[in-house]
Each structure stands twice: as structure tokens, then as C-alpha cells.
């Protein structure tokens, strides 16, 4: 991110990390100047998941589409776990739309409002026990 003048201006952020089964969760995306964070992990049973957390005071509404095991209706500040499907080629991403967001929803309300954030997350299992997560975040302050 060194070339970005202001991280809050990022309207498309892409992230990719590799995680091994049973290893600690890793951060995939840190969007909206750090106010929205996505970490990912692989459980001991090989199930992939993402944990989405934010800096707002309460849960924010969310809708989701295939790629997640269960529908996601809201994202809690402390983190909401999203189970992800794996094993398809190419991987089928989970799509999440967070919003509508009030100016206070993801921070202290001091900055311009973000109305909606789109997250697209996928996971691909490798042959030697690691998983590659790829994520995209779309939406920034400048809406």
C-alpha cells in the first residue's frame, strides 16, 4: 500500500494469502483504512472460513450469495464467521454485500459515508495441505 496516498481512497483492494490446515488465521484484507478486516483460516477438519470484523458500534446488515455454506445476514463488530466452500475448479467465490452503512456504521462518523462494500472471497485447497485465499473489496470513502 506504499504507493497509496490515503488508504481510505482505495476503492478496489485485492488480497491473497496461503494458510495451512490448523495454522493460525491470517489477514486477507484490511479495507476502508483498517475499519473492515477479513481474516481467513482452515480448521482441523479442512473446512475453510473467513472472519469479517469491523470497527463500528453494532452489527451491519449483509446479504450473501453462493460460495458460503450458510446465508450471512449481518456482520458483527467482533467478527462474523463465514464458512466457505472449497474444492471446485475454478473456486466459486462467496459474494457479500455489506450495507446500507450509516456514517457511524464503520467508525466514528467523522469521515464521509460509505454506503455499501462488496466482498468477494474464494479459497482453493492445494495438494499438500495448504489453502490459497483470494479476496476483493470494492467500495471506498469516495462514494
Amino acid at each position: 500500500l506504499s504507493s497509496v496516498r490515503d488508504p481510505a481512497d482505495v476503492v478496489h483492494l485485492a488480497g491473497a494469502v496461503e494458510v495451512e490446515v490448523g495454522a493460525p488465521e491470517r489477514e486477507l484484507l484490511r479495507a476502508l483504512a483498517g475499519r473492515l478486516v477479513v481474516t481467513v483460516g482452515i480448521g482441523d477438519g479442512g473446512s475453510a472460513y473467513a472472519v469479517i470484523s469491523h470497527s463500528g458500534a453494532g452489527p451491519v446488515p449483509c446479504v450473501s450469495a453462493p460460495g458460503s455454506v450458510d446465508p450471512v445476514a449481518e456482520i458483527a463488530p467482533e467478527g462474523t464467521k463465514v464458512a466457505m466452500t472449497a474444492g471446485q475448479n475454478p473456486p466459486v467465490p462467496v459474494q457479500l454485500q455489506l450495507g446500507p452503512l450509516s456514517p457511524e456504521a464503520l467508525g466514528d462518523g467523522s469521515g464521509p459515508a460509505v454506503e455499501v462494500v462488496t466482498l468477494v472471497l474464494s479459497v482453493e485447497l492445494g495438494s499438500d495441505g495448504e489453502a490459497t485465499f483470494i479476496g476483493q473489496s470494492i467500495g471506498g470513502w469516495a462514494l
Binding site: 476503492v11 491473497a16 494469502v17 484484507l29 450473501s64 454485500q97 454506503e115 455499501v116 476483493q136
Partner: protein, 142 residues
């Protein structure tokens, strides 16, 4: 390929309806598919190539389609974290409006892409903000 997208109603801003559409498609280079559909308003098709992304806006409304110059589109930038550089992330913006005598529909679209080379596909994700304005209301600067 079945088309799926997410739609959320936004605060109408006192002028008319407002909504957000999110979607994502994975396409082989050279193939054309619908990326986004706003019923009775517009459809956006995309054709990814090795070095570019072609977008086609289909006007489904009774109004006149007017593509907006770049200064009306969302400012900002594109960034990669972790190992994402290998997926060549890129971003594009487009803005347009649909005008009739009674109303103007303003549309701002952000498109983000990553290339999954090992699968021979490009993942194209997009978010659109759609607002209904009055007939002579200026499109708000992004």
C-alpha cells in the same frame, strides 16, 4: 452460467430510489457474459482479454443513455496486499445516466479484476450505485 447478483436498497436521498448492486463472474478470455443486470434499466456485459476489459452497456430503459466523462466517476485507487500482486488486480470505473423527460437515473460502477491464470479465467467483480434523480437534477460529482 447462472447470473447471480446482490441488491440492497439505499437511503433514497429524498429524490427517488437508490440501490446498490454487487456481482462477480469468472470468465475465460474472449468470452462475453452479463456482469450486471438492473431490470428495465440497463445491462452490463463484459469481455475480458489478456490486457484489457471490454464493457458493453445495454440500455433497457425508455430513456436516453449518456456515458459520463471520467471526472464523474468514482475517484480512488486500486491496491494489492499479501500475495495478490501475482493475480494482477486492476480496477475500472464507469458512469452513465439514463434520461427521460421525467427522471434521470445516475449509475456509477466500480469494477475490480483479478486474473486466475492457472484456471485461465479472470474474476470480474463489480459494485454499482444507482440513483433516481429529478429530470434536470445534476449528477452529483463522485
Amino acid at each position: 452460467m447462472r447470473h447471480q447478483q446482490l441488491i440492497t436498497n439505499l437511503a433514497p436521498d429524498g429524490r427517488g430510489f437508490a440501490l446498490a448492486i454487487s456481482c462477480s463472474k469468472q470468465l475465460e478470455h474472449g468470452s462475453r457474459a452479463t456482469l450486471m443486470l438492473a431490470e428495465r434499466l440497463f445491462r452490463i456485459d463484459v469481455v475480458p482479454a489478456l490486457d484489457s476489459l471490454r464493457t458493453i452497456v445495454r440500455n433497457l430503459s425508455s430513456g436516453e443513455l449518456e456515458l459520463l466523462p471520467s471526472h464523474h466517476t468514482v475517484p480512488g485507487t486500486n491496491a494489492a496486499s499479501g500475495d495478490a500482486v501475482r493475480y494482477e488486480p486492476a480496477r475500472a470505473e464507469m458512469g452513465f445516466r439514463l434520461r427521460t423527460a421525467a427522471e434521470t437515473i445516475a449509475v456509477s460502477v466500480t469494477i475490480g479484476t483479478v486474473r486466475l491464470v492457472e484456471h485461465g479465467v479472470t474474476r470480474i467483480s463489480a459494485q454499482a450505485i444507482i440513483r433516481q434523480l429529478g429530470p434536470d437534477e445534476a449528477v452529483p460529482a463522485a
